[in-house]
């Protein structure tokens, strides 16, 4: 989703300026459509969040901060904290799995790589409902993977793994993993293999070469993948609802409850806007941290190469 955008950052500004008039017109159309289909619904949501709630009914147009005032509540902050924790942990787990996986993927033979990528892309065609239900079956006591432990004689009774935090994180990772791989893949496959080889030849262990040479070189992609999965899992509401205990019901679950069952659209809209604001500021922060650490690395390497050339 955001992969092309991130790659577009690398397009030199000069190329954009070089568009002919017809190309500009052609490009303007999707831009206008995007603005219309994003700005108008968002504006409606923003407006509704200030509307007056009619108790036992719907809402009336007006201007009130009542829906926002409901945030000043320990319960709300607890849910927000839990939501951030779940999305953050899921993104981190995704990265921990996706980085070595993608690294191995880039070193595979072409047709093996294509097979893996097709398999990953096919996950994207599954809806959250199917993923949620499948995992709830897979993690259940009666039909779940826990029965393998019984079959192997390790356990007497299959464990019930869902609902619970582990189940929610598993579901969210499954959902976010293909995105993480797709964001990391271009950067890792473009990475000059001689860098890693040079590090190995200079005596670094494979692990050290990976940690000290490969990882810093893909820092940008790591940040991008983290943000991508974080934002994606932050909005998921079916997985936490189907696989989570009530303690793991995230804000989107509560938003859906308000919108679908309580007909309290102003409060649902206010919560959505708040969640959007929080996630946007987090994304900006992480992006800024990522940029500054990347700059530091580049800075260090420039200093090193200058020192080396000066020494020689």
């Amino acid at each position: 989703m955001s992969a092309p955008v991130l790659n577009a950052q690398q397009t030199p500004a000069a190329a954009v300026e070089g568009f002919s008039r017809s190309e500009t017109v052609t490009l303007a159309w999707p831009m206008i459509m995007l603005s219309v289909f994003f700005v108008i619904p968002f504006g409606t949501m923003l407006a509704v969040s200030f509307f007056e709630r009619v108790p036992g009914g719907f809402f009336e147009p007006g201007f009130t901060l009542d829906s926002y005032a409901r945030f000043i509540d320990p319960f709300f902050f607890k849910s927000l904290g839990m939501t951030m924790m779940i999305a953050g942990s899921a993104s981190l787990l995704c990265l921990i799995l996706a980085v070595p996986f993608t690294w191995t993927l880039t070193r595979m033979r072409h047709h093996h790589r294509v097979l893996w990528l097709v398999a990953l892309l096919s996950i994207l065609s599954l809806s959250e409902v199917i993923i949620g239900f499948s995992w709830s079956l897979l993690l259940s006591r009666s039909t779940g993977i826990g029965n393998i432990l019984v079959w192997l004689g390790i356990e007497n009774r299959a464990p019930k793994l869902s609902p619970g935090l582990g189940a929610v994180l598993t579901g969210l990772c499954y959902l976010g993993f293909p995105y993480a791989v797709l964001v990391l893949f271009p950067q890792l496959s473009r990475l000059d293999p001689t860098l890693h080889e040079a590090a190995r030849m200079l005596g670094a262990s494979p692990r050290r070469a990976f940690m000290n040479v490969v990882l810093p070189n893909i820092a940008k992609a790591l940040v991008a993948a983290f943000i991508m999965v974080f934002v994606f899992t932050l909005g998921a509401y079916l997985i936490p609802q189907l696989l989570g205990k009530p303690q793991q019901w995230t804000l989107p679950v509560l938003i859906a409850d308000q919108a679908l069952f309580q007909s309290n659209l102003p409060f649902a809209a206010a919560m959505s806007i708040f969640l959007l604001g929080v996630s946007l500021s987090l994304v900006v922060c992480v992006g800024w941290l990522g940029r500054s650490s990347q700059a530091r690395i580049e800075d260090q390497s420039t200093t090193q190469s200058t020192t080396q050339s000066a020494a020689s």
């Binding site: 108790p55 079956l137 259940s140 009666s142 009530p246 308000q258 007909s263």
Partner: protein, 362 residues
Amino acid sequence: MTHTILKNRRRFLAQSAALVGAASLGSGIGRAQAAETLTVATYGGYFEDSFKNIIYPAFTEETGIEIVSVPEPTSDAWLIQLETAARANSAPADVSMIAQNAMLKGQSTELWAPLDLEKLPNHTSLTPDFIHTYSDGRVDGIGAVAWYLTLVSNTDVYPEAPTSWAELWNPDNEDSLGLMALSSNSFLLEITNATFFKDPELLQSEAGIEKVLAKLAELKPNVALWYRDEGQFQQALQSGEIPMGQYYHDVAGLAAADGHPVRSTFPIEGGVRDSGCWAISRASSKQEAAHTFINYMCRPDIQATLARKVGTSPTVKRELLDLSDEEFASVSSADTPITPVYSMHNERADWLNQVWTEMVTS
């Protein structure tokens, strides 16, 4: 040259599009003239399928009005879609089956078109409490079907049927219950009151509700799943993963009839009786056909068919039905049911939702 071809091609495409559009518009008009249609919404899944296969064809044959069946997710979710559409003066369904809580919410914006009882002669067959009215007496809904929320259990795990709602609090049932996640559809406050306090006034005040809620919170260690999606619980109940809980009597009966080890029991305190009304959206332009449909659905023979085939409880007086005592008992209970306190869910909706969610998620 290229430009001309492109232009011509575009013009050709535009003209073809216009032609295709006109053709499809024409065929639409043709169809509309052929038969009058009425869009009716019922709960999606088994329920809607039964109506589509058993009830609607006979109605069309008798009246010539074709029914377009649309599934509604839940009354509350459907209510929001109906209301939003009505604000834009359109109706995704002319007639919808709506549960009591949602009926009351819809009244706040006059979402329901007032019904004319003179056009509904069959309404006299109904028990009077199934005629739903606005506070000023105008009729806005006619009882479609009633249903019971009962205590269900897996027969493999519980060879003996549980007899009381108090089983939900039994420490032996740790981590083995499936309960509905919302106060407005689980009616667990009413169940707790009927089981432990038996005080009809208790749920009329916030202090009383909090007292009942505190008692209800005691069963939390027993709950394995707070469900919003019926399918999720039904699957777990059938497999024995979650062997007890609250569920709809009709659907549990159908699962049992399909050979699943599931039973539904009316507890000694009574099952919770809720019902759905037929209501017409104020934005519907098919008031006449809608009245014809609702009148048809009030007929005792249709109500009996629904009881036999769908397992719902009739809204028509018992003496008018040709159901045997056994058939009647399988869809209903002679004991006094637990009646939801709709005024509590309606008037204290936001406060109740807040304290309820805090109780469940803490």
